[in-house]
C-alpha cells in the first residue's frame, strides 16, 4: 500500500504557514473609543431651567453647561419649539424654528411659556403638563454684525447641539432643580473657586455635597387615578478634561467617584459633576485641578 506522503507534507507546510498568528490592528478597537466622561472638545453637559417646571404664562430663564476646553465655541443659540407628544425629541428644533429665545453672549435666554398651552386638557393632563423643547447649539465664531445669520448653511459637524424638555404644567407640587452645595476631594471640602492640587497618577475620591432638602417628595396621579407620594432618586454624572474617571455615573446616596489624576506634571484641567433629579431638574459644579 502506498501513501502519498508528498501530499501530506505539502499540506503540513501550508498549514504551518497558516498557523502563524498575525495580529492585525488596522481597525480601531472598542477600547480605544473615547469614553463618555472625557471632555476634549466642546460638549453640552447640562441645561438648567429656572423654574424647572413652570406654569403657563410664566417666564423661564436658562443656563447651560457647555464645556469648551479649547475655546472653540463663541456663541450659544437658544431655540424653543413644540415637542412630540410621546416625549421624544424627533430631530429637535431644526430650520423652521418657531422662536429664538437667546443668543449668548449677546442675549441671555429667556422664554415665556404659552398661556394657552394646556387649554383643552383634563385635570390629570393639566397636572401632568406638556413639553416644550429648547434646543441649545454651541456655534463656532460667526460674524454677528451681519443683520441676518444664515443658520441653514451652518455646518453642524462643527457645532455642539442638544435639547432639553421643559415641562409646563399646573402640578400641585412642581419640580425644583436639585442644589449642589459644594465639592469634596478625599472627603475634604474644597473651597469655592479653589484649584485642586493633585499628584501625578494618584487616585482621588471626588465628591459633591447635595442639599438633601432638594431631594423632593411629590405627589403623582397614576393612570388609574390614585395619588402616590414619591421621592426623587437623583444621580450624578462625572466628566473630566484629563485623567480617568472610574465611574461615569453614581446613584444617590453614592455621591463620590474615583478619579485618577493625569501622569503628566503641570497638566491643568477641569472636572464637572452634574446632578439630575430625573424629573428635568439639573445642577452642576466644577473643580479646576493642576498636577504637581
Amino acid at each position: 500500500m502506498r501513501y502519498p506522503l508528498h501530499r501530506a507534507t505539502l499540506f503540513l507546510c501550508i498549514s504551518s504557514l497558516s498557523a502563524c498568528v498575525i495580529n492585525n490592528n488596522k481597525f480601531t478597537r472598542p477600547r480605544d473609543l473615547e469614553d463618555s466622561w472625557s471632555v476634549t472638545k466642546p460638549r453640552l453637559l447640562a441645561v438648567q431651567a429656572v423654574p424647572a417646571e413652570p406654569r403657563p404664562g410664566e417666564v423661564v430663564s436658562f443656563r447651560a453647561l457647555l464645556a469648551d476646553p479649547n475655546g472653540e465655541i463663541e456663541s450659544i443659540l437658544w431655540i424653543a419649539c413644540p415637542s412630540p407628544d410621546d416625549g421624544g425629541t424627533g430631530f429637535g428644533c431644526i430650520a423652521d424654528s418657531e422662536e429664538v429665545i437667546g443668543l449668548q453672549p449677546l442675549q441671555q435666554p429667556i422664554y415665556t411659556t404659552p398661556l394657552d398651552l394646556l387649554d383643552g386638557l383634563d385635570e390629570r393632563a393639566r397636572q401632568e403638563g406638556r413639553y416644550v423643547l429648547v434646543q441649545v447649539t454651541g456655534l463656532p465664531p460667526l460674524d454677528l454684525t451681519e443683520p441676518e445669520i444664515d443658520f441653514e448653511n451652518i455646518d453642524f459637524n462643527e457645532v455642539e447641539a442638544g435639547y432639553k424638555r421643559i415641562i409646563i404644567s399646573e402640578a400641585t407640587t412642581p419640580n425644583n432643580n436639585p442644589a449642589l452645595l459644594g465639592t469634596t476631594a478625599d472627603g475634604a471640602d474644597l473651597p469655592p473657586g479653589s484649584v485642586l492640587e493633585v499628584d501625578p497618577g494618584q487616585d482621588y475620591d471626588i465628591g459633591v455635597i447635595l442639599d438633601d432638602r432638594t431631594i423632593e417628595e411629590y405627589l403623582y396621579l397614576t393612570r388609574e387615578g390614585f395619588v402616590e407620594q414619591r421621592t426623587e432618586e437623583p444621580y450624578v454624572t462625572w466628566y473630566a478634561t484629563a485623567g480617568e474617571v472610574a465611574e461615569p455615573y453614581t446613584l444617590y446616596p453614592f455621591l463620590e467617584a474615583t478619579w485618577t489624576a493625569p501622569e503628566e506634571p503641570g497638566t491643568e484641567g477641569t472636572l464637572w459633576a452634574v446632578a439630575r433629579d430625573r424629573r428635568g431638574g439639573q445642577d452642576w459644579l466644577e473643580i479646576n485641578f493642576r498636577v504637581r
Binding site: R2, V21, P30, R43, G88, T89, A161, R230, E233
Partner: protein
C-alpha cells in the same frame, strides 16, 4: 438509486471469489437484503515478468454496478503498479455480476473490490490427517470483533488456513517447538506471534490484530435515499466530526454548504437563501425544535453520537415540511445501535459528554430479538473556568448548558419499526455586578441579568410496511418549553409552552411509477407567560416620564392541523424522472386570555394553501436537471400573534420560491451541482409605526422583499482517504417595510459566501483537515452624528443615509484540525486539536459607536481558539 458499500475483504486470485458483503441495515426504509454476486469470475493475466519474479499484489478498485449488474464505472483507488492495475481492471470488466437487491428490487451500488494476484498453493500430498495441535481465535483490536477470513500462516512451513465466522482457526501437524504464526489480511496490519508447540498438547492462542484504518469502520454508509427533494445535501457523520471549527457538531456543518449565510460570532443562526433565522425549520426525526443550538452557539442540543445524518434543504422541498419560508434542516437519529455495546466519553474546552449504546437480548438465544438502547448526556463547564479570571472582582458571568437523550428501539419484524426517544436541554446565563457598581444612570436597570431556556420532548415513531404497496408511518410527540428572562428586580418575562403533535403519512403505490402520499402534520398546545416591567413601552422615549410599573400575564392555546397530499410520479418506472406535485393545507387557531387580553377570551383563525411542484430528470446517466416552484407560507411568531387587548390581525407571511439546477456525478466519488433560486416575499410582518400601546397591534403584515442567487458545490465523497467539498453562493436579499418606503438590503445579506473544507487520513491513524471561509461583510447603517438629550444624558445617533447602504469588512477565516486515534484491545482513544481562526483576521461583527457617534470601532468576532479534546470509546 445508488448505494455505497463498506470495504469488503480482498479476493485472492487463486481461490473462488468471495461474494461482496452487504452493509448493515441502512437507516432508511429500503435496506439491502442481498449484496451483489459474482456470477462469472475472470482470472486476470499476470503482467509480463511479474509471475516469474514471484511478485504478488493487491489492487483495490471502486466499482459502480448498475441495476442490471453491469459495471457502470470503475476506478482504481489503491494502485499496485507494474501493470497489475490494468490487468485487474480488464478482468473485472469481463466479469459477470448479479446486482444488489432491496425489497423493492435491484439497485445500483458502489463498492470497493480488492483483486489479488497470489500464487496458488501446491496441493499437499495425501496422507493421513495429523492431529490438531494449534488452534486459536483472532479478534480485532478496539472493536473486539471476531474476524473471519484472516489468513493464518506458520512461517517456514506450508501450513495455511483462514479463520471462520467466529474468528477461530485450527492447524494440524504444526512442527514441534517454536512456531511463528503470521496473520495476514489486506485490511489489517500483519501480526507475527511466536508460540511453543508441545507434543501431545494443543496450543491455544488468543490473538489481536489491528485494522489498517479504524475510520472506515465509522462510515456505516453514505447513500442517497429516494430523491424526492430537488436539492438535498446529506453529509456523513465521519465528515461532520472532522470539519475544523465546528466542534464536531453535525448541524454547524450546515454553514459550510451553499445557500447558508454566515451567522454572527459563529452563533449558529440558520440564515438560508436570504431568509430570517426564524424562517427556517429544524426537525429532529420529523419533530420541529424551537431552537437547535446551545447559548454559546458552538454545539447543538443533541449528542452527535445519536445523529445518523443531517439533511439540509435550502429550498425546493416538498409539502411534508411547512410553517417556514426559509430552509429546512432535518436531523435523523440512528435507527440501529451497535450490536456490540459501546460507551463513549468525550471532553474538550467547552463541555464533557458520555454516551452509551447497545443491544440487549437473551444470552441463551443469541439470534433472538434484541432491544436496542442509547443514552447520552452532556454538561458544559465554562461557568467553572470563568470565575478563575474574575476572582479579583465581583463581576460574574456564568453560562451553563446541559443536554440529555434516551432512545429505545423495539425488536420487531423487519417490515416494522418502533422507537421511543426522550431528549431535553437547558441553557442558563447569569451576569452579575457588584452592588455599588452603577449599570448606567437608570435605577430600574440595576441588578443581575439572568436568562434560562429549557425544553424536553418525547417522540414515538412507528412504521409498518403493510404490503409491498402500502407503508404507514406514525410519529406522535409531546414536549414542554420553558423560558425565563430577568434584569434585577424590575424586569421579568417568564413563559411556558406545552406542545404536542402527530405526524403521520401513508405511502400507497397503486401502480408502478405512481406513489400517493397523504399526510398530516398536527401541532397544538397551551402557552402561558408573565411579564413585569418597571416602565411602559409608551414611556421608553420619554426620560422624564413618571414611571408606572406594568405587568400582565397571558395564557391560551394554539392548534395547527396541517394536512398535505403529494404524489411521486416516475413515468419511466425508475428514479431517472421524478415529478412530485403536492399541496399543503395550513391552518392555525390561537386562543388567548388573561390580562394581555384585558380579561377577554379571544381567538383568531387563519388558513392558507401551499401548492408546490418539484421535478428531477436524469436525462443522461449521472446528469440530472432539477426544478421546483411553489408557495411557502409561515404563521406569525408567538410574540407577533398575541394581541394586546384585542384580536391580532397579523397573519401568514408568504414566499413564492423557485429554483432550477443541474447535478453531475463525475465519478463514483466526485459530483458537483449548481442551483439558481428566486424568492419573492410578501405579507412580511413588520413593526407597526402607528402602534400606540394596548388596543393596537404592534406588528402588521406590511413588508415585502425578494432574494435571488446562485449556489455551486463540488464534493468528493468520503471514500478512500480523502474527503472534501467546495461551496460558493452568490446572492442578494432585499426588504421593504411598506410599499411607499425604500428597498433596503436584508440585514444578513452576504453577496459572496465561499467555503472549502477537506480532510485526509494519514498513516498510523493520524488525520488532518482544514477549512477556509470567505464571506462578504454584513450590511451596515452608519450614523453620521449625534444630538445630545440633556434630560436623558445621552446622544441620539442619526443617519442621513438609507438603511444598510454600507458594509462591514469581509470575513476571512482558516481553521485546522489534527487528530490521532490510538487503538487498544478493548478501547480506542482519539485526541484532537481544533484550531479555530488560525490566521487571526480582524473579522468585524458589528460597529460600535462612542457616546456621541463621532467615532466608531468594530467589535471583532471569535479570536484564535485552540480547542483541545479527547474521546475514549469502549466496546463492551
Amino acid at each position: 438509486m445508488t448505494l455505497f458499500l463498506a470495504l469488503i475483504p480482498a479476493l485472492a486470485q487463486d481461490a473462488p471469489a468471495e461474494q461482496p458483503a452487504p452493509t448493515a441495515d441502512s437507516a432508511e426504509e429500503l435496506p439491502i437484503i442481498e449484496g451483489p454476486q459474482i456470477l462469472e469470475y475472470i482470472e486476470a493475466e499476470w503482467p509480463p515478468g511479474t509471475k516469474e519474479a514471484g511478485e504478488e499484489a493487491v489492487v483495490k478498485l471502486l466499482i459502480e454496478l448498475d441495476e442490471t449488474g453491469e459495471v457502470a464505472n470503475l476506478e482504481v483507488v489503491e494502485a499496485a503498479g507494474k501493470g497489475f492495475d490494468e490487468a485487474a481492471v480488464d478482468a473485472v470488466l469481463a466479469m459477470k455480476f448479479a446486482p444488489a437487491r432491496t425489497e423493492a428490487g435491484p439497485v445500483s451500488v458502489v463498492f470497493e473490490f480488492a483483486y489479488g494476484f497470489r500464487f496458488e498453493e501446491e496441493e499437499p500430498e495425501v496422507e493421513a490427517p495429523k492431529p490438531v495441535n494449534l488452534e486459536g481465535r483472532i479478534r480485532e483490536m478496539g472493536t473486539r470483533n471476531e474476524l473471519e477470513g484472516i489468513n493464518v500462516v506458520i512461517d517456514g512451513t506450508d501450513l495455511l488456513t483462514k479463520t471462520g465466522p467466529d474468528g477461530r482457526f485450527e492447524l494440524r501437524g504444526v512442527p514441534l517447538g517454536d512456531a511463528t504464526i503470521r496473520l495476514i489480511s489486506p485490511d489489517h496490519i500483519t501480526l507475527e506471534k511466536t508460540v511453543e508447540v508441545v507434543e501431545g498438547e494443543v496450543t491455544i492462542v488468543d490473538l489481536w490484530i489491528r485494522s489498517t484504518s479504524y475510520r472506515d469502520n465509522e462510515i456505516v454508509g453514505v447513500y442517497e435515499r429516494k430523491r424526492e427533494e430537488v436539492t438535498r445535501r446529506t453529509i456523513s457523520m465521519e465528515e461532520i466530526r472532522r470539519i475544523p471549527g465546528t466542534f464536531g457538531d453535525p448541524i454547524k456543518v450546515i454553514q459550510t454548504l451553499p445557500g447558508a449565510a454566515r451567522s454572527p460570532f459563529g452563533t449558529g443562526l440558520l440564515i438560508i437563501r436570504g431568509s430570517n433565522p426564524e424562517d427556517s425549520g429544524v426537525y429532529v426525526d420529523g419533530v420541529r425544535l424551537p431552537i437547535i443550538y446551545h447559548l454559546t452557539g458552538t454545539t447543538s442540543v443533541l449528542s452527535p453520537e445519536l445523529v445518523e445524518s443531517v439533511d439540509y434543504l435550502p429550498g425546493g422541498y416538498g409539502v411534508q415540511y411547512g410553517r417556514s419560508m426559509g430552509g429546512v434542516v432535518d436531523v435523523k437519529t440512528k435507527r440501529k445501535f451497535s450490536e456490540q455495546g459501546r460507551m463513549i466519553w468525550g471532553t474538550d474546552i467547552l463541555d464533557s459528554q458520555v454516551f452509551f449504546e447497545g443491544q440487549l437480548g437473551n444470552k441463551k438465544k443469541p439470534d433472538g430479538p434484541k432491544h436496542q438502547i442509547a443514552v447520552g448526556a452532556r454538561r458544559s463547564y465554562i461557568d467553572l473556568f470563568i470565575p478563575l479570571f474574575t476572582r479579583n472582582t465581583q463581576f460574574q458571568i456564568k453560562p451553563y448548558y446541559t443536554d440529555y437523550q434516551v432512545k429505545y428501539i423495539a425488536p420487531l419484524p423487519s417490515n416494522q419499526h418502533f422507537s421511543a426517544f426522550f431528549y431535553g436541554f437547558q441553557d442558563t446565563l447569569k451576569v452579575s455586578t457588584p452592588d455599588d457598581f452603577a449599570q448606567g444612570p437608570d435605577a430600574d436597570t440595576q441588578g443581575s441579568l439572568r436568562t434560562k431556556y429549557a425544553s424536553q420532548r418525547v417522540v414515538v415513531n412507528y412504521e409498518n410496511d403493510l404490503s409491498d404497496k402500502l407503508t404507514l408511518s406514525l410519529t406522535p410527540n409531546i414536549g414542554v418549553d420553558y423560558s425565563s428572562f430577568g434584569l434585577g428586580d424590575e424586569f421579568a418575562l417568564d413563559s411556558r409552552n406545552v406542545v404536542g403533535g402527530v405526524r403521520s403519512e401513508l405511502r400507497f403505490t397503486p401502480v408502478q411509477g405512481v406513489e400517493i402520499i397523504p399526510g398530516i402534520d398536527f401541532m397544538g398546545g397551551s402557552w402561558w407567560f408573565d411579564f413585569r416591567s418597571a416602565v411602559r413601552f409608551s414611556d421608553l422615549d420619554d426620560p422624564l416620564a413618571e414611571r408606572e410599573p406594568v405587568g400582565f400575564d397571558g395564557r391560551g392555546s394554539f392548534w395547527s392541523p396541517d394536512a398535505y397530499l403529494k404524489a411521486n410520479l416516475r413515468p419511466l418506472g425508475d428514479d431517472r424522472l421524478l415529478i412530485t406535485p403536492g399541496v399543503r393545507l395550513q391552518a392555525y387557531t390561537l386562543f388567548q386570555g388573561g390580562e394581555v387580553s384585558d380579561g377577554q377570551k379571544l381567538s383568531v383563525t387563519n388558513f392558507q394553501a401551499d401548492p408546490r411542484v418539484l421535478a428531477r430528470w436524469e436525462f443522461i446517466k449521472g446528469n440530472t436537471i432539477k426544478a421546483a416552484t411553489g408557495f411557502y407560507q409561515q404563521p406569525p411568531q408567538p410574540q407577533e400573534s398575541i394581541g394586546l387587548g384585542r384580536v391580532s390581525a397579523v397573519g401568514y407571511e408568504r414566499a413564492w420560491s423557485s429554483s432550477l439546477g443541474f447535478e453531475q456525478q463525475l465519478s463514483p466519488s466526485i459530483k458537483w451541482d449548481i442551483d439558481l433560486f428566486y424568492k419573492d416575499f410578501d405579507n412580511l410582518i413588520v413593526f407597526n409605526e402607528q402602534w400606540t400601546g394596548f388596543g393596537t397591534d404592534p406588528f402588521v403584515n406590511g413588508g415585502d422583499g425578494r432574494a435571488y442567487g446562485m449556489e455551486i458545490m463540488a464534493r468528493h465523497e468520503p471514500t478512500g482517504r480523502f474527503f472534501g467539498w467546495v461551496s460558493y453562493t452568490l446572492s442578494r436579499s432585499e426588504r421593504r417595510d411598506a410599499p411607499d418606503q425604500d428597498v433596503y438590503l436584508f440585514d444578513f445579506d452576504q453577496t459572496h459566501i465561499f467555503s472549502a473544507q477537506a480532510g485526509y487520513d494519514l498513516p498510523a491513524d493520524f488525520g488532518l483537515s482544514a477549512q477556509f471561509q470567505y464571506v462578504t461583510g454584513n450590511p451596515d447603517t452608519p450614523f453620521n452624528a449625534g444630538i445630545y438629550d440633556a434630560d436623558a444624558d445621552f446622544y441620539n445617533g442619526f443617519s442621513t443615509g438609507p438603511r444598510n447602504t454600507t458594509r462591514l469588512p469581509a470575513f476571512f477565516q482558516t481553521s485546522l484540525r489534527f487528530d490521532k486515534l490510538w487503538t487498544f484491545k478493548t478501547w480506542q482513544l482519539e485526541t484532537y486539536v481544533d484550531l479555530l481562526n488560525t490566521v487571526r483576521g480582524v473579522n468585524p461583527e458589528f460597529r460600535l459607536y462612542n457616546y456621541d457617534y463621532s467615532q466608531s470601532a468594530f467589535v471583532r468576532g471569535l479570536p484564535f481558539i485552540p480547542n483541545i479534546g479527547l474521546e475514549a470509546k469502549f466496546w463492551l
